[in-house]
Structure formats: C-alpha cells, structure tokens
Amino acid sequence: MRRAQIKMFETLAVLVVFFFFLIFGASFYFRLQESSLEREFDRNTQLRAVQIAQKSITMPELECSFAGVQRENCMDVLKVQAFAELLATEEAFIDYFPVFQYSTLTVRQVYPSQLEWVVYNRPRGEQSTLLQIPVLIYDPNTNRHQFGYLEVRVYA
C-alpha cells in the first residue's frame, strides 16, 4: 500500500514537472511569436510606405520629365499643386485610394525657402510609419530645381 502511494506521488511529481516545462515553453514560444508577428507587421507597413513613395515619385501625375525623359527623384511643383487640388474631389480620391491607401503624402520644400503641399491625406488610427525621400522640386515657371523631400506617412 505504501509502495503504491510512493509510486503515485512519483508519477504525479513527474507530471507536475512536465506540465510546468510545457507551460513555460509554450508561454516563451507564444511571446516570441507575438514579437515576431509585430516585427513582420512593422516591416510590411514600412514596405508599403516604400511602395507608395516609389509610386508617387515616378507617377506621371507628379514626376518631372524633359523631352520625354524622366528625371530621377524629381517632382514638378505645378503638377503637385494640380494633383493636390484634384485629389480634393471625392471622385479622384476614390480612384486613387487603391494606390495611396491609408496614408498622408506631403511634399516639403527646404531650400531656398520652406514650403509644403499636402498631396493626399487619408489618416487611420494612431499607429503609423514615416518615410522621407529627398526630391528635387522643379518649378517650370522659373526653370529652377528646389530642394525638398517627399514625406509618406502610412497608417497601420
């Protein structure tokens, strides 16, 4: 009778230790998985920001081209202003939503003077990723290239 009780306690102790390790391992695993998923989510938002920024600086609605040749990292200020006005209309806004999604696109001029144009604005929630790409802002009226950057804020 006593031997059987000892055996039972032994089995119980082994089971307790086993489940302790199992729960500890599982919580450790799920915590790592959670942080890995968060990282993956952040990475995807960042990639989306890069995609939107690349699309914006190469799209005919905003880029500057000379004799049909597109200049790299360059935006035409007249196109920027016209496009911002166009996107203020509901119809165009809906058309361009698949391209820009939930984001805010701002063109900021730094030199020679500080100016800014909000091209597209569709915020959602608090969490966002910010990406800045230096661009030349070409003014066809004066034939000058101003220095600035395109700021893309993508909402998660």
Partner: protein, 156 residues
C-alpha cells in the same frame, strides 16, 4: 527490470528531442535577426545617395547655378559673383541649409565633407555623434583641376 530500463531510455530520448527542438528554435531566431540589419543598411545607403544627388542638382540663389556648378567654380576660379557671397560661401550656405532642414530635423547624425581642392575642402558640415557605425556615400564632381569627392556619412 529490463522494462524499467527501456522506459528510462525512452524518457532520456524524449528529453534529448525536447532540447534539440529548443536549440533549433533558438537558432532560427538568431539567424533571422541580421535580415533587418541589411534592410536598414540598404535604406540608409539609399537615403545618403538620394540626398547627395538631390543636393548637387539643386539650383542655388547665385545666378541660377546648381550646387554642382558652384562647387566646380569654388574649386577652380571663384569667379561667380553671387548676391551675398562668393561661390564657396554660397555653396556652403546652401548645403548647410539643406542638411539642417532634413537630417538634423529628423535627428539623424551626419558628416558632410569634400576632398580634391583646397577651397572646396573648407565646405564641411556635421551634426550629432559620429563615433559609431557609418553609412557613407560619395559622388564625384569633375572640375578642370581634378575630381572633387563629395561625401555624406550617415552615422548610427
């Protein structure tokens, strides 16, 4: 008795399998980490390259000359008469304004320098601590006395 021995061996085998699973799991996480670092390095080198190209292509306030043209004049003749300063001073002012309006505002440490001609070498700018890792980008600017090496270091 032999049955008990077999059970113990089985128990040991289970422990070994569990340890191996843990080690494989840890290795997977350790190996995954550098990918993010490579991505970051790529983004920073793109930023440095984009900033340099954009800055050099910007039209200055000096007779419609670009920053590249100002640097070329600064390195050789200093013949351009700008409204406020000579070509070296004007180039230095433009570069400082552009870098402080972008990198400094984004709280990114940097170091800008030029090599290849004494006058142009006086144009330098820096902000923040640059003692750690550096992502560097150099653009060559040809002049009649040789090639200027315009370098922008982004510091981490």
């Amino acid at each position: 008795m032999p049955k008990q021995g077999q059970m113990e061996i089985l128990g040991l085998a289970v422990i070994v399998v569990l340890i191996l699973m843990g080690v494989l799991f840890a290795i997977q996480f350790v190996l995954k980490a550098p990918a993010a670092q490579i991505e970051q390095q790529y983004k920073e080198s793109q930023l440095a390259a984009g900033l340099l190209t954009t800055m050099l292509g910007t039209t200055s306030d000096c007779r419609g000359a670009s920053v590249t043209e100002l640097l070329q004049d600064c390195a050789v003749f200093k013949s351009l008469e700008c409204p406020h300063d000579d070509s070296c001073g004007e180039a230095g002012y433009a570069i400082n304004t552009m870098l402080s309006g972008t990198l400094q505002q984004w709280r990114r440490a940097y170091r800008f320098r030029i090599k290849g001609a004494y006058n142009a070498e006086q144009i330098a700018a820096s902000w923040g601590d640059c003692s750690g890792e550096i992502e560097s980008n150099t653009n060559p600017v040809p002049t009649t006395v040789g090639t200027l090496q315009v370098t922008l270091d982004l510091c981490r």
